[in-house]
Amino acid sequence: MAISRGAAVRYESVQKSYDGESLVVKNLNLDIPPGEFLTMLGPSGSGKTTCLMMLAGFEPATHGEIFLNDRPINNVPPHKRGIGMVFQNYALFPHMSVAENLAFPLQVRKMAKAEQEEKVQRALDMVELGSFGNRRPAQLSGGQQQRVAVARALVFDPELVLMDEPLGALDKQLREQMQYEIKHIHENLGVTVVYVTHDQTEALTMSDRVAVFNDGVIQQLSTPDDLYEDPQNSFVAQFIGENNKLDGKVIDVNGEACLVELHDGTKLKADRVNVSAVGDRTTLSLRPERVEFDTHDEMDNVVDGRIEELIYLGDHIRVRMTVAGNDEFIAKVRNRGQRRDLTVGDHVPIGWALNDCKALDPVA
């Protein structure tokens, strides 16, 4: 990361209600250090966009305070916050050319004409659209419009850029390409980016840290790998990546580990994440790629599974099986050339390490 010239953002006990009856954002506390790429991830209605709009100044906070570089900004109107923003549908002004769009924030800041032109050209070059200045937004492709929107949000050198699902309208391939471009721009400029998305892949690809929202509360705030490896609750485990669920009851606790008995009596060892005592109900979470078919005696958990379905996916094979009464148990087998002898209907032993199996809060 280059020398940081980004802004620090802090939410302090922020609450938001639209109707005075229910809270959309419940007591949000969040610290974003300068230069960080933070993603707010969550399903629709989880409160992530509202948090972004409060930061941009388009929605007032019902309670609490938001700080920008330690300055409270609740009473600062949006146009004085100096925050760049990229909107879901780009919001490029259709009656202005690309260059006029980019010059707009500079004009309202009454910048000298020559300086404006120079900055506009530099911003266009940055997004590799140097020769498109005279076009209208409608004459550009979706990806090009997206780049213009990014360039416009950055052209006036803001310390903070907000992005509200900016890649939602693009096709898959273009989206992946843009993810890298945005990430590189962020790395080069060092601005703070707050990014809102409901796409977990996007969040994991781009972010320094991800705040997973659900029901108006941040469920977990971690780096992408922590989020995947160490989900703090069942919601995060299920929302991020693929996940097998096994319901049971804690029957023994031993430090960081615990023993869980499933409904059919199978006993499994698991990493104790958020269960506290014997007798607690729990849902075990296990990533499909951590399931081993080459079992051996030292393994923490070994159970019997019946193969229900095989799906060939090139680099790996998805195996759907029934394990401990759960017929939606998924295992991924890496495709290593030597074909595995897996047949639908077979009973095979499978196993996994204690640390890959998280004992989380029970799901419903």
């Binding site: 923003m85 009656h95 707009f104 924030p105």
Partner: protein
């Protein structure tokens, strides 16, 4: 298309030119489309286009003189209108022949009414002469007999008018419509105390523009509000906007009378709060103010609806984007929102202006003398004076004026920049 280079014609598999095959394939679709719209097309042509064309044709049509007095028209060809003398016996003999037939068919009075538009007194001249014609001596000489019947037959002006309007087509109606007339000395403006149409055209344009502007000023904020309120509230407001459509035009106009007249509600209130004295009650009706107020009210929905439908499509994220880029509320509105609402303004303004320019009931009822439009004169000539030729000429000019303004508008704003919904 590289195949088509060097003048090579693309063909289909069976060797026919590709373009011809395509045209044939499309022709069937076009025919089907035509069949689908045929009933409407026929309806519009029969009930709308044809009467309008017929009406426009009346503005130049003038066959009545040649049809009623065919021999006289021929005989008059040799008469010099500058001679200062009435024509000779030969013309009067032709007039006798023509009139004898015309009186039989009772068409002479109709010709009299027609020529009376051009010269006062000809109506009674033909009526009076018609009654005498059967008592005239068939052997002649006729000149003295006609002069006996009415001395106007001896006046050179009578014959000048007859000769001038003997061609089957005339520009007389159009000249009248621009306050001009054709005399034997050429085209000249009518005396000042008869000039009215150009003045009325000017006033119609001026008042229509004022009405359009006041509709825009009043309608824009309302449309803005409608487009940005929650659907439930905006639907309720929309009903209020459309409410005037559900009451009869006459009821609405009468309601304005009750409100605006000198002993009316508004004046009573202003006197009651001592803002004006009882002796100085405001004159707000039976003048231009009344026309502008009542017509603005009537035409307001035609401004609001297109504005609303355009504003509804302007995403709120544009204004937000502008603000996030550092624009104040006003700059965001003026530089970003307003330009995007221009198609709505264009559509609303064109609608209101065109409706206003042709209105006549409301100006007639509340316009007094200073608030009436050219359409009031057109209505008068259609229903009261029966001078349909002049009415048609005035209508044609109004139509042309609207088309010209439309073209100017297209040149300045662009007709593709109009969105009706």
């Amino acid at each position: 298309m590289s195949d088509a280079t060097a003048g090579q014609v693309l063909t289909t598999q069976d060797g026919k030119p590709l373009k011809a095959s395509l045209a044939r394939a499309l022709r069937r679709e076009k025919l089907r489309a035509l069949v689908l719209i045929a009933p409407l097309l026929l309806f519009v042509v029969l009930t709308f286009v044809a009467p309008i064309v017929d009406m426009l044709f009346r503005s130049v049509e003038n066959g009545i003189v040649a049809d009623t007095l065919p021999k006289t028209v021929v005989a008059l060809q040799t008469w010099d209108p500058r001679s200062g003398e009435a024509p000779d016996e030969q013309v009067f003999a032709a007039l006798y022949d023509d009139l004898a037939i015309a009186v039989e068919a009772k068409t002479h009075t109709r010709l009299g009414s027609r020529l009376n538009y051009e010269q006062t007194g000809i109506s009674s001249l033909f009526r009076k002469t018609g009654r005498r014609i059967n008592r005239m001596d068939e052997a002649g000489p006729f000149k003295d007999q006609f002069l006996n019947a009415d001395k106007k037959w001896g006046e050179v002006e009578t014959w000048q008018v007859l000769k001038q309007y003997s061609p089957r087509y005339t520009d007389g109606y159009f000249l009248s419509a621009v306050d001009a007339q054709r005399t034997i000395d050429g085209i000249s403006l009518k005396p000042e105390n008869e000039q009215i149409y150009l003045f009325l055209f000017g006033r119609t344009l001026f008042l229509s523009i004022v009405i359009t502007i006041s509709c825009l000023l009043l309608g824009y904020p309302i449309a803005f509000l409608l487009a940005h309120l929650p659907l439930r509230t905006s639907n309720l407001l929309m009903i209020l906007v459309l409410l005037p459509f559900w009451t009869s035009l006459l009821v609405r106009t009468s309601a304005w009378k009750v409100l605006l007249q000198q002993q009316g509600v508004i004046n009573d209130f202003l006197v009651w709060i001592n803002l004006i004295s009882d002796a100085n009650r405001l004159v707000m009706i039976n003048n231009q103010t009344g026309t502008i107020i009542a017509m603005t009210h009537i035409l307001l929905p035609f401004m609001i609806l297109p504005l609303y439908s355009v504003m509804k499509t302007i995403s709120p994220s544009y204004v937000r984007a502008a603000k996030s880029l550092g624009a104040t509320d006003w700059t965001a509105f003026w530089r970003v929102y307003f330009p995007q609402s221009v198609p709505g303004i264009g559509a609303g303004a064109v609608l209101v202006f065109i409706l206003a320019i042709g209105y006549y009931i409301t100006p007639e009822l509340v316009g007094g003398t200073s608030g009436i439009f050219i359409s009031n004169r057109i209505a008068f000539h259609i229903s009261s004076s029966l001078n349909w030729g002049l009415a048609a000429a005035l209508g044609t000019m109004l139509l042309v004026a609207v088309l010209v303004l439309f073209m100017v508008y297209d040149r300045i704003v662009g007709i593709d920049n109009v969105k009706l919904g």
